[in-house]
Amino acid sequence: MSAGEWVLLAYRLPREPSTPRIALWRRLRQLGAAQLLDGLVALPADSRTREQLEWLADEVVEAGGEATVWLSRPGSAGQERALASRMQAAVAADYREVVEEAAVAGSGPAGQRKRTLGRLRRELRRIRRRDYFPPPERERAAGAVEALADSLERAAA
C-alpha cells in the first residue's frame, strides 16, 4: 500500500463550455484519479501525480474555474484501504478486458492476432500508468498478452 500521503485536487469548473470539463475528465481518467466527491479527486502522492494535478489545476483556472492542490493523509487506515481497493477494482476490470480480448484474438487469423497484440501491449502500458495498487489481474493480463505473442512466434516457426 502507499506511504499514506495523497495529493488532492479540489476544483470547480463552469458548466459551459463543456470542452474543458470533458478534457479534465478524460485526463483524470487516464491518471486513474479516484473521485472522492463532486469536484474532489485523489491520487497517491509522488512527484509525478503531484505535478500532473498541478498542471490540471492551472488549466481549470485558465478555463475560468477554481482549483487548489493539497497534500493530505487519510484520517484512518480503513479509509485509505477502502479508497485503494476501489482504485484497484477499477484497474482490475481494465486488465480483465485485456485478458478477454487476448483470448478472443488467440483463436483468430495470424494477421489479426498481430494487430491485436500491438494494440493490447499499448493498452496494457496505459493501464499500468494508472495502476497504483496492482491487483493479481496485472500479471494475468501481461501473461495473456505474452501468450498471444508466443502463439505468433510458433506460427512463424
Binding site: A23, R27, Q30, E54, W55, D58, E59, E62, R125, R126
Partner: protein
Amino acid sequence: MRWATRSGPHVDRAACAWLVRRFIDPEAEFVFVDDPDEVPADATPFDIRGAELSHHGGECPFEAFLRRYGLDDPVLSAIARIVHEADLEDGRYDAPEAPGLDALLRGLSLVRGDHEVLELSQPLYDGLYEYLKRATLLGREPA
C-alpha cells in the same frame, strides 16, 4: 540570463534547458526551486505553476517555448511531439520514442543531481535533433 525551473528535472524540463542553450541563450544559467515563490527576481521561470512557459491548453512547456520564441523548425516540432507524449501521455501524438526517452531521463534523475541531469542530457538531445533532422531530410529513419 538566468532561468528557473522546478527541481527534479525529467524529459520536459531537460529538453527545455537544452532548447534554451541551443536556440535562445547560449550563456543560460539554470536555477532549481521547489516552490514558485522561490524563483529569483531576475530569472525567467519555466515549467512552474503560473509561468507563461508552462503547461497551457493541453500543451507542455517545451511547446510553449517553441511558440513564445517563434522557433519554427520541423525537427524541433518532432522533438516537441516526443516530449509532449513523454510528459503528458495523452495520446495526442504517435511518438513511440516517448516511453524510452522518459525511462532514460527518469533513471538519470535517480542517480544524478539536477544540474548534472541537464549536462548529461544535452548530448542526448543534440543526438536526437541530428537523428530527426536526417530522418526529415531522407524521408525515412537514418541507419
